[in-house]
Symmetry: C3
Subunit: 109 residues, 3 copies
């Protein structure tokens, strides 16, 4: 068994939860803030048999991978027109920071 | 020293806290949701000397063990009478998922 | 790489966050309660290269060290005058409980 601690963006959190359930992984979510990823984030604790660690990592990668996203500009409602950008802007979203920890004992009571 | 991470149901959380304090274990509680256990849950982080790991596990087992509980039926106040069950129902409560992690260093500042 | 889990008092939390950022450490904060430290506390998860573990520990010590603080007495506004202490009182603040965990894999997606 290993314990995977994965810090992911809130916006990827539900999708990752669902994908883990579909593949019979059991995770607990810890409320977390700031740090590894700029915006709000969630820390997943996932207990995984050794032989399934790679599969779990692949699911995290598939659902939380860093990618660039085009965001449509918001018109400057009474804001500073000087800073208005009239074309889509590329922003970075997603990304995950993942630790795989050894465990000495695992119990279910 | 070991670090015990124990995910327990909210309803067992206070009882476990008290039992740990009574036996001089020091724990931190992390707010957690979903996953290993269906309903709301709490993750205990407990720093434990090697020689006391078994005692800590026993306390977790004693206070959070999975058990079946009879729940009195709730009468269907304007609800769907078809689904009303007029006798106590057995539901599963409790249970704990526990990881014992090795640690390389322990410090108290 | 190591994973440092540090439980610190809420009142030291912001200062520690800033000091870690200044030194290019990346941390995630988990909401936590009670336990190792009496008042409200925060658990920092910090991923650290082996060679920088000592530096991270030093920063935690510098910013969260246990110390005694003189607190000016509050006058007993309609309270129990019998318990009024007319001189500054020494209270203990700060302190950190720190676990350094080995990790088997570290990934950034
Ligand atoms: Ni990018
Ligand atoms: Ni059962
Ligand atoms: Ni002191």
């Amino acid at each position: 068994m290993k314990l995977i601690m994965a810090v992911v963006q809130d916006k990827d959190s539900n999708r990752l939860s669902q994908a883990l359930v579909e593949h019979n992984f059991r995770a607990t979510k810890l409320a977390s803030t700031g740090g590894f990823l700029r915006s709000g984030n969630t820390t997943f604790m996932i207990g995984v048999e050794d032989i399934r660690v790679d599969k779990a990592l692949q699911i995290i990668n598939d659902n939380c991978k860093h990618r660039d996203q085009l965001v449509a500009p918001v018109s400057p409602m009474g804001g500073n027109a000087d800073s208005y950008v009239p074309y889509p802007v590329e922003v970075e979203v997603g990304g995950a920071t993942v630790f795989v920890l050894p465990i000495e004992q695992f119990h279910q009571f």
